[in-house]
Each structure stands twice: as structure tokens, then as C-alpha cells.
């Protein structure tokens, strides 16, 4: 066990956990931030996507000891009122089916748009390919990313 001070959603948080603990479980089990989902644990599905200094990162393979002073943003911190352009577009297009993968999809999409405000279809697909949606909401996700890009 070791103590880590983390910078999460703009707030300093202290946790006392094993240094090998992935951020996914630190967020979920220790900080009650359950919007970041577990899907595979091996960086294959994208359900656990967070922003690490603005870059979309899989929290399931990111150990707490490697985070240091980096800024972490989770779905809960993406916007205060749930009104980030990507979240709004997601609602407008009624993207979710079961909804389980969607926090990860939104985190990947918002990081993409931050770096590339007007992505082509191919760029959207390449950026989003690490995020599986078992319910098959892919066509609507692309529509929503494009809608968010416009706003």
C-alpha cells in the first residue's frame, strides 16, 4: 500500500492503494467515480477511457503509480451540467442502446475533437476503433461526433 495524491476532475484526491492498481479500479472502487467502466481490463474495448492530460487513455492499464501530477478527467468531470457538446450531441442523436460503452465512447470522441475539431469520417473511425459497442451504435456515434464537431 502507498499513498497517492491524484489530480482528478480538477480536485486533488488522496488514495491509499497498492501501486500496481489500475486507475480504473482506483476510480471505481476507491473514489466512487463509477462512470468509467470495466469491459476487458486489457485495453481492448475502450469502456474505461479517461483523459490523461487531455489524451484519451485506457484506465484499465494505467497504474496509479504512473500517473504522477498528470491531470485526469473522467466522464463525471467532462462538464459540470452534462452539457459538453459531445454529450449534447449524443442525446440529440439518441446514441445509447444499453449505454454501458458510451462513457468511454464519449471520452474518446471528446479527446479527438479537442485535437481535431473537424475530423473526416475516416479520422473518426480510426480514433474510435479502440472503443467497442456490443449493441452496435456505431452509425449513430459517427453522426453524433460530426454533430458535435459542428457546434
Amino acid at each position: 500500500m502507498a499513498t497517492f495524491t491524484l489530480n482528478i476532475n480538477g480536485t486533488k484526491q488522496e488514495v491509499d492503494v497498492d501501486p500496481s492498481t489500475p486507475m480504473l479500479w482506483v476510480l471505481r472502487d476507491h473514489l466512487n467515480l463509477v462512470g468509467t467502466k470495466y469491459g476487458c481490463g486489457i485495453a481492448q474495448c475502450g469502456a474505461c477511457t479517461i483523459h490523461l492530460d487531455g489524451t484519451a487513455t485506457r484506465a484499465c492499464m494505467l497504474t496509479v503509480s504512473s500517473v504522477g501530477n498528470s491531470e485526469i478527467t473522467t466522464i463525471e468531470g467532462l462538464s459540470e451540467e452534462g452539457d459538453h457538446p459531445v454529450q449534447k450531441a449524443w442525446l440529440e442523436v439518441d446514441v445509447p442502446q444499453c449505454g454501458y460503452c458510451q462513457a468511454g465512447q464519449i471520452m474518446t470522441a471528446s479527446a479527438l475533437l479537442e485535437k481535431n475539431p473537424n475530423p473526416t469520417d475516416e479520422e473518426i473511425e480510426m480514433a474510435m476503433n479502440g472503443n467497442i459497442c456490443r449493441c452496435g451504435t456505431y452509425t449513430r456515434i459517427k453522426k453524433a461526433v460530426k454533430l458535435a464537431a459542428k457546434s
Partner: protein, 733 residues
């Protein structure tokens, strides 16, 4: 208007009206209390009045509608309350939706499966709304001293035109609780719907996109421990022993023990299918600590039954395809005689592997068992059955078992089977603590309950004019006999023979989205294309000819056929028109149609140019599911089903070596991804006013055939073996 007796669920109406006659109903479920937005809190009424088990009206006119069925992403949590709201005549913006707990006294069939929630809920949901509306009208009639039948309602407002009286539902809600439940109620005419048939967004949308705790895995409670299981590494093995001492002292670990989920003699429900009788449990403070302990734990297993490999399944199924059945499932005319005189014979064999459900949210369940009661919370499609086994296993009466449902991160049939609920309950009882059982992805994927592996062989005979005169199908599946003998083209061919076999194996199987149809549709509709080609006819027209035959001059007793040929032909004609079938588009196209789970679906799939496995560019889909409750959600569901069919038939497979699953996570089990998904999808509905049927499954099966028929056009190859990505069929001709 339609007058209906309030017999379905009447017990619910009476019992609850009685209970609620005091008026006030308080207390929100755990889920509702977590998910309330600030706007909702501000608009909360001071008092709620429960008019029946399905709904309560607040003193400010807000209405809470209970969604009785499990939500697995099929969107019933929006669509089912829409039906209640329609008959209640309340504005949708004033409706809040709550997931109902398991309560068999109030709700019938609280189950998600077979695309039946809407179809089977239709009548009782309408009645629940209409009954409450009737009671509100009666209350207003008494208050105003006017006849109830002169009162009209609209958007939650009662009006008596002649006297100039008007009141919101909220004002009459208290009085309505003491009104006698009517013997019969009037339902709206289809033409008067104002909510049904309109686009309504997912009621949980905001909570989903903001990451609120909605799912079973998101349950965290005071003092809760995490539990994980270790199951045998291969089918055919069972627990022998372990040395858990070293692991028990690992950080955060509370206990490691072997336990029986299903001891000898325990009464099981069908939903216990696939359950592993003995497991090892690891219980600790956190998920990561349990995962670490799981890695270090060495368990000894022993062989209990045959170690089966995929090569064995394939050979055994192939052998069954060569074995005539002594009791054919259906036999019309004489296929042998017809083949003997046929001008042309077409013959093909199709096959598909085992598939895992792979719901995005792995299996999990919360349990808190004390001597007084068992509190269970989580994602289960069949709570009613799980409750019975939990009671039997814990040795507690049913009344002491409380099951609540969370939103589910996918179902696809997997959560029909609830051994994990029993496991959670047993672990909690043993630990004497609240626990959340969590399956790792690997546990989930290698546990079993798979879509069976299938093979089917078709043989068709054509006369010299290209008419279909004989059809022989023989199918086999693992733990499942494959064929639906009374489905199309049964009834449209004079000489017809359907035979089926099941191969018993110890690799456990279960219902997987559109059971059997998910394979047989792809095979049958791809074969139909081959036959049409041999007949020298357009594949779509060839099918329509067969439906004409089934409509005008059906073979055998038409009652025996479990499809309506007019509705079947209807979706094909609609897709023909919408896709402009027959026109030269320059793209490779395939068509297919299928009927299952009471709905009819036809699709045209159009591919991009190039490559061995060209991507789907466009899907044009026509659906007949009767009245469409929520077109937006219906389209979403249909899109998802087609992508599921295309994805699994192209990329996915489970295989086994000596009983050991060879795929255990998404690095080895391939699922369709963004860049492989269809680029455009359009969905059209047949407008016929028939009572609604479900959409969770029917769009999946035909997509596989529409795809393989299009692939043939694009590549000149017929794909017979799923997953298509691994199939290297020869060029035809």
C-alpha cells in the same frame, strides 16, 4: 373506442388501489434516487397517489410510471411507459420512469427475452393507463357533479366543457384513489394516439452520457465486499482441491473457499441452465485485490467428462448431416420422387461456430443475505426464476427474497441465465456480509452458455421452368436441434422434408439473440439465392413467387405454417420499392427476408467496392412489427441488430481445445468495430395498425444472408462457413 375488460393484472389494480387508499406513497427505489436530475427534484410533487401498480400521480400532475420489464438496451424502459402514458392521456414531459422491482402480484411476465416485452405487455400496459384515467375522470365527475362520460382528457387535464370545469390530474389524484376500479375500460382508437408512434428519446439518456451509476457493476454499498469466482478452466472438468492459505493472507483478501452452487437435489429452474455446480470464491476489499489473488491461486481440477474440441464438434455435426432422421419434423409430398425428376438440383452446406454473448458489462450481482432476508440487486433478465432458486438454495421462504433490477449493460440472452445470482447469494450468506460478485471478462467469456455451433444442409429441386418443386433441409446443432420446420419455405413447396438433430455436448449453450434464427436465416436465405440463380430468376422476385404460392395455394394446412405470407411478402415489396431493386446502382447488392419473434424484416445490403471482404456501404431495411411504439428507439434497435448479425457472422467465433475455450477476451475474440460497421442504414416500417410485436431480435438474422448474398455479387464467392473472414470459398463458375 375499444372496450376491454380489466381482467389482465386486475389483481394488481385492486390490490394496490386498496393498499394506496391512504393516498400517500413514499420512498423511491435505490436507482431512482440515484438518478434524479436537479430539474426533476424541483418538479417533484409533495405527495404521490398510487392509482395502480403501474403508476402514481403527484399532486402537481407529475406522473411516475413503473417500467415492469428488465432493460437490457432494448429500450423498453422508454417504450413500455409510453404505452401507459398514452392511455392515461398525460403529457410525456410530465412523466418520470422508474424501474419496477420484481413483483409477480402486480406485473405479468417480468422478463426480457424473445422480443416479447412489448407484444405481451401491450394489453396490460394500455389497461393500466386507461384504468387510472377512468378513475381520475370519475373523481372529477363526483367533484363537479357532472356525468363522467361528458368529461374529456388531454395532456393530463380533465375538462367538462358544458360546466366550464377543468382540473389537472394532480388535483384529482387524491380523490381518484378512493374510486372503485372499473370492471371495464375504454381504450383509445389507434388513430387517436399522440404519444405512441412519436420519437421519444431514451429516458436514461442523460444519466448514461454523464456516467451516473445505473448498472449492476456500479452498485457500491456500505460495508460491501467484492467477490470473484474461479471456475474450471475447461468444460468436462470439475473441482478437486486447492491450497488457499498463501492467497488468504494476500492484502485485502478476506476469504477463499470452495462452494457448491447447486448441491445434489436442489430444485433448479430453467434459468439455472449452464450453471457450474462447484466453484471457488475469492472475497476481498476491492476488485483489484481479488484479481491479484485470483492470479496467484492454484486450484486443482479433475476430468469429469469428455474433453471436447472444436474439431470433434465439427466432425460429429457433419456426421449428423449424413444421418436421416427416423422422425422427420415435417414432410409434405415426396421429395425423393421430386428430386428424381428435377431438371436441376442445388445442394449446399452451411455452418457456424459457437459464439459468446459478450455483454459489454460482464456478469455481476449484489447480494446481502442475513437470517431475516436476502436483498439482491443487479442485472438479470429473469428475476422471477432466479428468486425461486435463491430461496431453495438459501433455505429461505420466497417472501424473504427481494430482487431488484438494475439497467443492464447488454443482455442478448445471456442474462436469461442467472447462476451468478445464486452464486452471489451463497457467497454473501457464507461471508455474512454484503458482497458484489464480479466476473472478469475472462470468467464471463469462458464460462459457457454459448450460442450453439450449427451445421445445415439444403437440397432444392427445380423443374425445367425454374419452379421450386422440392426442398430438403437437414440441420444439426450442439445441444439444439436447429430447424424451424414450419417456417418458410414450408407451405410454398409441394415436396418438402425437414429433419433435425441435436448433438449432446458438455460445452454449455443457451439462447443467444434470436436463437437458432441467428444461424438458420443466414443459411436458408443464402441458399434461396443460390436456388434463384439456378432457376435463372431475380432473387427477390423468386421469393415473391413463393409467397404467392403460400398465399393462394398453400401446401398442407396453412395453420401449420408459423408465418403470414402476406406480411412476409409485404416487407419484401417495401424493401424492393425503397431500395429501387433491379435498378443498376453499380454496387454489389444482396437481399434477404426473415420472420422470427413475431416480426417480419427484409433487407437489401449494398457493399463498397474492393477487397476480399468489402465493407457494407448501405442497408435498406423494411420492417413489419405492427404498430411502432417509438420509431426512434425502434430504428436504433433495428440498426443494432443488423450490425450484430453482420459483425458476428463476419468476425466472431469461440473454439475449444480439449474442452478449453481458446478465446477469453477481446484480443482473441473479435467483435465488429467502428471502421467495419455499415456506413448508412435506413429503416422503413409497414404501416398496418396491427398490435405491436418486438424488435430486439428480428433484424439480426436476415442481415447475415443479405450480407453473404451481396458478398457473392462483389467477390464471386459464396460464403458457407462463419466467420466469413476466415472462410476462403472458391470462385463460383
Amino acid at each position: 373506442m375499444t372496450l376491454v375488460k380489466t381482467k389482465i393484472g386486475r389483481r394488481a389494480f385492486i390490490r394496490n388501489t386498496g393498499l394506496a387508499s391512504g393516498g400517500l406513497v413514499i420512498g423511491f427505489s435505490w436507482l431512482a434516487s440515484c438518478k434524479m436530475t436537479p430539474e426533476q427534484v424541483n418538479s417533484l410533487p409533495k405527495e404521490w397517489f398510487e392509482l395502480n401498480g403501474f403508476l402514481k400521480v403527484g399532486d402537481n400532475g407529475m406522473v411516475t410510471i413503473m417500467s415492469p420489464n428488465p432493460e437490457i438496451g432494448q429500450n423498453v424502459k422508454t417504450s413500455m411507459p409510453m404505452i401507459v402514458a398514452e392511455e392515461l392521456d398525460v403529457a410525456w414531459k410530465n412523466v418520470m420512469v422508474e424501474q419496477a422491482p420484481l413483483n409477480t402480484d402486480i406485473f405479468t411476465r417480468q422478463l426480457a427475452g424473445g422480443s416479447q416485452s412489448i407484444r405481451q405487455g401491450w394489453e396490460s400496459l394500455r389497461m393500466a393507463g386507461a384504468t387510472a384515467r377512468h378513475m381520475l375522470k370519475d373523481a372529477a365527475a363526483q367533484a363537479w357533479g357532472v356525468p363522467a362520460d361528458e368529461i374529456t382528457t388531454k395532456d393530463g387535464v380533465l375538462t367538462h366543457e358544458a360546466s366550464g370545469n377543468s382540473a389537472g390530474y394532480g388535483e384529482m389524484a387524491s380523490a381518484a384513489t378512493s374510486i372503485e376500479v372499473p370492471e371495464e375500460v375504454q381504450l383509445k382508437d389507434n388513430g387517436n394516439f399522440s404519444i405512441i408512434g412519436t420519437d421519444k428519446k431514451n429516458v436514461d439518456g442523460k444519466e448514461i452520457v454523464t456516467g451516473k451509476p445505473l448498472f449492476g457493476l456500479d452498485v457500491y454499498k456500505e460495508g460491501m465486499l467484492t467477490a470473484m469466482i474461479v471456475h474450471p478452466p475447461a468444460f468436462g472438468m470439475k473441482y478437486k482441491g486447492m491450497n488457499a492459505d498463501a492467497v488468504k493472507s494476500m492484502p485485502g483478501i478476506k476469504d477463499v473457499f470452495h462452494f457448491e452452487v447447486y448441491p445434489e437435489g436442489i430444485e433448479k429452474q430453467w434459468s439455472d441452465q449452464g450453471g457450474i455446480p462447484e466453484l471457488v470464491a475469492i472475497v476481498g476489499n476491492s476488485t483489484w485485490e481479488c484479481m491479484q489473488a485470483k492470479k496467484s491461486l492454484e486450484v486443482e481440477w479433475e476430468q469429469d467428462s469428455t474433453a471436447e474440441s472444436t474439431s470433434y464438434h465439427e466432425e460429429a455435426l457433419a456426421e449428423l448431416l449424413e444421418t436421416p432422421s427416423e422422425t422427420p419434423a415435417r414432410k409434405d409430398g415426396d421429395v425423393d420422387a421430386a428430386f428424381a425428376k428435377a431438371a436441376k438440383i442445388v445442394e449446399s452446406t452451411y455452418s457456424a461456430p459457437y459464439l459468446a454473448h459478450n455483454t459489454m458489462e460482464p456478469m455481476n450481482f449484489f447480494a446481502h443475505v442475513t437470517p431475516e432476508k436476502a436483498e439482491l440487486l443487479g442485472p438479470i433478465q429473469t428475476p422471477e426464476f432466479a428468486e425461486k432458486t435463491v430461496a431453495a438454495r438459501l433455505g429461505m421462504p420466497l417472501e424473504k427474497i427481494d430482487i431488484m433490477m438494475t439497467r443492464m449493460g447488454g443482455g442478448f440472452g445471456r442474462r436469461l441465465y442467472g447462476p451468478f445470482v445464486i452464486e452471489a447469494a451463497v457467497i454473501s450468506q457464507k461471508m455474512n456480509a454484503p458482497i458484489k460478485l464480479v466476473y472478469s471478462r475472462e470468467d464471463d467469456m469462458t464460462q459457457g452458455t454459448y450460442r450453439p455451433s450449427y451445421k445445415v444442409k439444403y437440397k432444392a429441386g427445380l423443374d425445367e421452368n425454374g419452379n421450386l418443386i422440392a426442398w430438403h433441409v437437414r440441420g444439426a446443432g450442439t445441444n439444439d436441434d436447429l430447424i424451424f420446420e414450419n417456417r418458410f419455405p414450408a407451405g410454398a413447396v409441394d415436396n418438402y422434408l425437414a429433419e433435425k438433430h441435436s448433438l449432446q455436448t458438455n460445452v454449455t449453450t443457451g439462447a443467444w439473440r434470436a436463437p437458432r434464427s441467428n444461424f438458420v436465416a443466414g443459411a436458408e436465405q443464402a441458399f434461396m439465392d443460390e436456388v434463384a440463380e439456378a432457376a435463372g430468376k431475380d432473387p427477390l422476385e423468386f421469393r415473391l413467387e413463393l409467397f404467392d404460392r403460400a398465399i393462394n395455394n398453400p401446401v398442407g394446412d396453412p395453420e401449420q405454417n408459423d408465418y403470414d405470407p402476406e406480411r412476409y411478402a409485404g416487407v419484401l415489396k417495401l424493401v424492393k420499392e425503397k431500395a429501387n431493386w433491379g435498378a443498376e446502382t453499380g454496387k454489389a447488392r444482396g437481399v434477404a427476408a426473415y420472420y422470427c419473434h413475431n416480426s417480419y424484416v427484409a433487407q437489401v445490403i449494398e457493399l463498397e467496392d474492393g477487397g476480399d471482404m468489402p465493407r457494407v456501404d448501405n442497408i435498406i431495411c423494411a420492417v413489419d412489427c405492427g404498430i411502432v411504439i417509438n420509431p426512434l428507439a425502434a430504428k436504433n434497435q433495428i440498426e443494432g441488430g443488423m450490425i450484430d448479425g453482420i459483425g458476428h457472422s463476419t468476425y466472431s467465433a469461440m473454439s475449444f481445445e480439449d474442452g478449453k475455450p481458446q478465446q477469453s477476451n477481446f484480443d482473441t475474440y473479435r467483435l465488429i468495430r467502428h471502421s467495419e460497421a455499415p456506413k448508412n442504414i435506413e429503416v422503413h416500417f409497414v404501416d398496418n395498425g396491427i398490435d405491436p410485436t418486438g424488435l430486439g431480435e428480428p433484424s439480426l438474422p436476415p442481415a447475415i444472408a443479405a450480407l453473404s448474398n451481396a458478398l457473392y455479387k462483389a467477390t464471386g464467392r459464396r460464403f458457407y462457413k462463419q466467420p466469413f473472414i476466415n472462410d476462403k470459398p472458391p470462385l463460383v463458375g
